[in-house]
Symmetry: C2
Subunit: 363 residues, 2 copies
């Protein structure tokens, strides 16, 4: 088992990475404030793993409340959040209750926001079961739900007390979901860790074959990269080059997700196409060359990810991007590649270049 | 103008108390992160004060988004919260936008939770227009909404950047609302400030006659008391005698509000009857005597507040109190009076005594 410490002053916590973590109740119980735990999961993950985690806890004397939501990004909304609140209140969960998220990023975001808001905040533990959630949403404390007008528009920063990244859960992950997570793994290499990017280029085939050691290493290195960025800028208040760098490809990607309707493309798929758009725009600014763009596109393709966005039309992309949270005072602030392995935030791009990059990178 | 500093480390802020604060745009602008402000108010307050605050701001170059909600505790719910989010998104408010609450406690709680959750948190300024909001909800950072199963069950701790307690707004406050606020003013005397309680006994008639200097003094002293308690226990994590002391009368009072349906009784009215119940229970424990209970009841009556709860039946009270946030691990933790001027938390009461206190103090 690998252990990674996320240093956030009084809110520091550990990420445990390895096999069979769900079957170790002590790893959960030692982080709880009472004997009450509410597990939030979904209809896909619960049949596979809910008993595995809940039975040993119950045997250890923990009173477990089970809350199973429908699966999918299109359920990351008020209705699901209220389902959680209704269940917590119906079972008389008090302020000493711990909420545990068992599932992917959607479950983590929903359960995390519920934990942040229930009785103005209760303890939160994450047990991410997708690669995407293990390398991305389990670090950084971002929680929230979508709004019809934009993704993640409502939420909170709420740090978990612990994260259990059980690599056994990746064995049941569909190929498409594995690739989706790989988009974020590749992102860490692109924005700040060239040697990790080279390692990924050398090991992508083993990763896709689900080599357990390779996956654990990729998760740890991804989380370590994210943790360093987050520790320096916990609430994304840095004006430039702080936590915002983690959003490489995300402004374009969110436009894809919103434009198609949440859930049509997986998050990592949209980010992959968005990353190519960001690379293409970086090339138009003269920061990287065509070979660099091809390198980005090539690695994403090897990870079985889409490298072209859907044909929404540049106008629609621009409109959707105007609603993104990363807009500062009406001006679009994008994350671009100064070079391969180093991203920067940039508010100086002109609309014509952004439109051209979009048009070049759509089907 | 009186200025009170609420000391909360990096989240410290000032409460300004005095006449004509709404007409001073600089007091708001110097706390904003950009030129965008969203004012949340209700249909009662907006016609009286929205132009007074918004016009000078617009003249100073601020872009103001106006969000006017229906009035009343029964609108402190998901629907109103979503109305705020919809309006913020429709007007493309970004993360640098400041949310300002113009109204009573309901508007403060709603706008505060919206500010805490919109794009995971934006700046927040409070302009409370009721006595209750000026002495209670403007200090401490508690925000939230009600759930059909309980009051304030969903919310966040979110501190304002500044509070403007404009005493001019009390001139239009209905008598019943003024008395409601007085219940919380009296509470501060009862729980920790005997000399303030004596001052209130000497000055209640002038306060009810809306003597401006008297009101400003009572607001300042109330806020100072609350600020001291909150500074020592910001997130209500102290096991005993911390921030929980501010809840004198509230466990009983919340049962009244929930049992009758939110909005039937004003918050302070329910707290007043609940405070008498807490005093009666304290007498049954031998901590205070019948004369003390009569003193509590007498001052509340002079403030034109109800001193008996509605006849819900003791069973219903007990059931409703079991859902209160102040229940720790299934055990009812009440705030009681060790003596007049000193409250303590107590988990040692037996159900029979609680029921008897309720029955003694209902119509």
């Amino acid at each position: 088992m690998r252990t990674l410490n996320v240093a956030l002053a009084e809110r520091s916590y550990e990420i445990l990475i390895g096999p069979n973590l769900l079957g170790r109740p002590a790893a959960i119980i030692e982080q709880m404030a009472s004997d009450r735990l509410a597990i939030v999961s979904n209809t896909t993950v619960a049949p596979l793993y809910l008993d595995r985690i809940a039975n040993p806890l119950r045997a250890a004397g923990i009173r477990v409340t089970e809350i199973v939501l429908p699966d999918g990004e299109n359920h990351k909304n008020w209705q699901s959040l209220n389902t959680i609140f209704d269940a917590l209140l119906a079972d008389r969960c008090d302020r000493a209750t711990t909420v545990l998220a068992l599932g992917g990023g959607v479950i983590g975001d929903l359960a995390g926001f519920a934990a942040a808001s229930y009785q103005r905040g209760v303890r939160f533990i994450q047990a991410p079961t997708t690669l995407l959630a293990q390398v991305d949403s389990s670090v950084g404390g971002k929680t929230g739900i979508n709004h019809p007008r934009g993704k993640n528009m409502i939420g909170a920063f709420w740090q978990p007390a612990r994260v259990l990244a059980d690599t056994d859960t990746l064995s049941t992950l569909p190929d498409r979901q594995l690739s989706s997570g790989m988009a974020e793994v590749i992102k860490y290499g692109l924005i700040r860790d060239l040697s990790f990017l080279e390692w990924l280029e050398d090991n992508m085939d083993r990763l896709l074959a689900r080599d357990a050691d390779c996956l654990a290493y990729a998760i740890e290195r991804s989380c370590a990269n994210k943790a360093e960025v987050v520790a320096a800028d916990e609430r994304e208040t840095a004006k430039d080059n702080g936590r915002a760098l983690l959003n490489l490809g995300h402004t374009f990607g969110h436009a894809i997700e919103t434009g198609l309707g949440y859930g049509e493309w997986l998050h990592g798929e949209a980010i992959a196409a968005g990353t190519v758009m960001a690379a293409e725009l970086s090339r138009r600014l003269g920061w990287i060359d065509a070979a660099d763009v091809a390198r980005v596109r090539g690695l994403l393709q090897r990870a079985r990810l889409p490298v072209r966005g859907p044909a929404l039309g540049a106008d629609r992309y621009m409109e959707l991007m105007g609603h993104d949270k990363k807009v500062m005072a009406g001006r679009l602030r994008l994350v671009l590649l100064k070079r391969i392995g180093e991203a920067v935030t940039c508010s100086e791009t002109v609309a014509a270049d952004i439109r051209a990059a979009i048009e070049t990178c759509c089907v």
